[in-house]
């Protein structure tokens, strides 16, 4: 969806990270969903980067 198409739609947001940003959206009745994010691979950055690359190449 192009940027100009986005401008014509209702915003629907996936929030990943600070929960307060999600709360701000829902308090304004914006449709939003909070991801219960955790570091991939138990915080092992090398492993997380590898997983990320696998995901991107899918």
């Amino acid at each position: 969806m192009s940027v100009n198409d986005l401008f014509k739609q209702d915003l629907k947001v996936i929030n990943m990270g600070l929960e307060s940003f999600y709360e701000d959206l829902t308090s304004q009745k914006v449709e939003a969903i909070q991801v219960q994010w955790k570091p991939a691979a138990g915080g092992n950055q090398k492993m997380a980067a590898l997983l990320g690359r696998l995901k991107s190449s899918k």
């Binding site: 940027v3 629907k12 947001v13 990943m16 990270g17 138990g42 092992n44």
Partner: protein
């Protein structure tokens, strides 16, 4: 007594944990508490606070720890843990019954028509998630900082290829389809579109446009590095093109620090093709080259708002470098202020929470005064070079050096309160502060700074002194904080509230010159 407990595989976001730490610190008998994930940064902090115990040697960034230093005759570790759990449960209860999927993919299964992903996870993980979102055809607002430059370039190239927004990294402010994202004010919808590389600069312009009776079509953030040589302005160009094609946008505003020369040229080439007026505040940038590109240069963030409104209303935009109040009122204000100062009160203390607002203040005041800062105009004016407490100080308290292990001062104003305690004394003549309202900001930013000024004033009163305090409020009557109450609480503390940051800074300049300091 120092104690540490570790909970493996329990992840919570940093702001939640920092705010919980702060509440726990208020318990009687508690000297220091740090609740955090086992990141290198947090472990360094624990060492600095002298609370590092062997239990912490094997923690990973996926483990939560609580480290506390306390007087065991007054409070126990069990009580600290129950306080932690109580606050966490309060948060959980607020979201009881809501489905919170564990990954972006599962969120998309649940909300297949999602169109934007807002990311504020730690920087080292953020690029992977942003890339995944772009590959799913989603627009991205990336609030996280500490994302490597090469990742930013790759993500933005991918977004341009796909025709998507990649706002950030380190993008704090955007308003898309009328919805404020991260740190943004509630402004009416209207016919002015903005692309901004600076967060509080964007907030100040949108707020002043709202106050002048107009509104915003779209506000696109780019992140602070977008106009560097390396990134090449990819997102500002993408944003300008979108606003040029947007039927609801009649005037385009651009705000940033001065771009790299090659990027500046690309932007000017693009806007010279625009049939919509373009107003530009490249803070401290070259006005003539903006004029040559057919755009309108500005003197301040407020001036950018006024000019955008003027051209929208088909009026001639004129430079505004004065005051809303009549000149004689300003002269009187200056006279009264100077009369309140004792001869040994000589120094300015400007404590800002907004980066671009600080930048605007330093560039204006720095042309006639030596202003020490953590973002100095010249290296010899770095705050470390200030001779003791003798000198004017203007600080951006949102910079990394002041926010290690604690939230940004717009979220938690404690950092600024501490600077009042340590840097305001009998030699202080003037205090200058910003108060930024809107989503993301503290619920009572004005009240906290009003208390700090009142306390400083009470301290000085014992030696028969007073001080001058000047503020501006970046907020609208529709923000979640109450604008009128915010202004009233500042004024009750004897703070002069000016209509914009630029006017607050100009008033400070006049008082400094009249007082000969």
């Amino acid at each position: 007594m120092i104690k540490v407990i570790v909970r493996e595989n329990a992840y919570y976001d940093s702001v939640t944990l920092m705010l919980i730490s702060r509440e726990m610190k208020k318990l009687d008998g508690v000297e220091e508490v740090l609740v955090g994930m086992g990141t290198d940064l947090n472990l360094d902090l624990v060492k600095m606070l002298e609370m590092f115990l062997p239990e912490l040697e094997k923690v990973t960034p996926n483990d939560l720890f609580i480290a506390a230093k306390f007087d065991e005759s007054k409070v126990s570790m069990d009580e600290l843990i129950s306080s932690f759990e109580e606050q966490l449960n309060r948060k959980k209860e607020a979201h009881a019954g809501e489905y919170q999927p564990p990954t972006l993919r599962s969120a998309l299964n649940f909300m297949p028509d999602a169109n934007l992903v807002q990311i504020s996870i730690p920087g080292q993980y953020a690029a992977n998630e942003a890339e995944d979102a772009l590959n799913q055809g989603l627009h991205v607002m990336l609030f996280s900082d500490n994302v490597p430059m090469e990742d930013e370039l790759r993500l933005k190239q991918l977004a341009v290829d796909k025709g998507l927004l990649m706002m950030g990294p380190d993008c704090g402010t955007a308003i898309i389809n009328g919805v404020p994202l991260c740190f943004a004010n509630v402004v009416r919808r209207g016919r002015i579109g903005l692309v901004g590389a600076s967060g509080t600069g964007t907030q100040e312009i949108t707020v002043r446009i709202h106050q002048l009776g107009e509104g915003m079509s779209q506000v696109i953030g780019t992140g602070g590095r977008d106009l560097s040589e390396t990134i090449g302005g990819l997102m500002m160009i993408q944003g300008i093109k979108a606003l040029m094609a947007d039927p609801d946008t009649e005037v385009i505003v651009l705000v940033s620090k001065p771009p790299a020369p090659s990027v500046e040229k690309k932007i000017y080439d693009l806007i010279s093709k625009s049939d919509k007026p373009v107003v530009i505040d490249f803070i401290g940038g070259d006005a003539e080259s903006i004029r040559q590109a057919g755009a309108i240069p500005c003197l301040s963030l407020e001036d950018a708002a006024r000019k955008a409104v003027a051209v929208l209303r088909k009026e001639t935009p004129v430079d505004f470098d004065g005051f809303d109040a009549p000149q004689e009122d300003i002269d009187q204000l200056v006279k009264e202020a100077v009369a309140r100062l004792k001869p040994d009160q000589k120094y300015l203390r400007a404590f800002y929470t907004g980066g671009t607002l600080t930048d605007e203040a330093i560039k204006y005041l720095g042309s006639d005064h030596v202003i020490y800062s953590n973002i100095p105009l010249t290296p010899d004016q770095a705050m470390e070079r200030m001779p003791g407490k003798e000198g004017h100080l203007c600080l951006d308290l949102g910079e990394d050096q002041f926010t290690r292990g604690r939230p940004h001062p717009m979220i938690d104003p404690l950092t600024r309160s501490e600077f009042f305690d340590t840097h305001v004394d009998e030699s202080t003549a003037l205090i200058l502060v910003d108060v930024v309202l809107g989503y993301g900001s503290h619920e009572n930013a004005a009240g906290v700074v009003a208390d700090s000024v009142a306390q400083a004033r009470a301290r000085l009163e014992t030696s028969g002194k007073d001080l001058i305090a000047i503020a501006s409020v970046t907020g609208t009557d529709q923000d979640p904080q109450n604008l009128d109450e915010s202004i009233a609480s500042l004024e009750q503390a004897g703070i002069t509230v000016m209509p914009s940051n630029a006017q607050a800074v100009r008033l400070v300049d006049l008082i400094m010159k009249a007082a000969g300091i």
